[in-house]
Amino acid sequence: MPSTPAGRRYLKRFVPTMTAYVVALFASNRIAEAWQPEGVALVALSFVPALPIIGVIVVIGLYLAEEKDEYLRQRIVVSMLVGLGLMLSVTTAWGFLEESGVAPHVPAYFAFILWCAGWGAAQCVLALRERMQGSGA
């Protein structure tokens, strides 16, 4: 994220939210192993690691709402759309491959990872293009 006030606020929110995710994932796995809950308890426990990830999505949304630099915001939104395109393409194709029995089942949370990967790759390409075109200073 850029070093704008909104970018700094994003980092301040992102780090504790991701830390919460790591703790939630670890705790959820350990509790599931130790107590082997069933029914509603298992549903609730399985949902726990998803909460911080949903929190990260909220943190990203807050950044977009708070970023005052319109060019940087536009560049990030374009990168996010590239990520969205990648995620939808891969998950759609994978779904059909899976249905035909030629691809293994993949957990749905990989969609978010794919989106992040596409977003990050697009950001790198845009930054590289900017650098290659020179600063013009």
Binding site: D69, E70, Y71, L72, E130, G136, A137
Partner: protein, 69 residues
């Protein structure tokens, strides 16, 4: 969109960073506008025009008129 931002900035001896600080945007934004990779919103275009004491048309070339030339 073609524009005279770089020339106007050079006349005043400002760096891209100087102009960015005056406009309260990032240096990347100034660079993207100068090189024509990004067209600013109307509020930002007015802010640029106000800073240089010019009209928007005096800084940015109308793309429709540019095609006629």
């Amino acid at each position: 969109m073609k524009n005279a931002l770089r020339a106007l900035r050079a006349e005043r001896g400002w760096s891209q960073q100087d102009l960015a600080e005056r406009l309260e945007v990032s240096r990347q934004s100034v660079n993207a506008i100068e090189t024509g990779r990004y067209d600013p919103s109307l509020p930002l275009a007015f802010k640029i025009a106000d800073l240089f004491g010019l009209t928007i048309e005096a800084i940015f070339t109308n793309p429709a008129k540019e095609a006629d030339q």
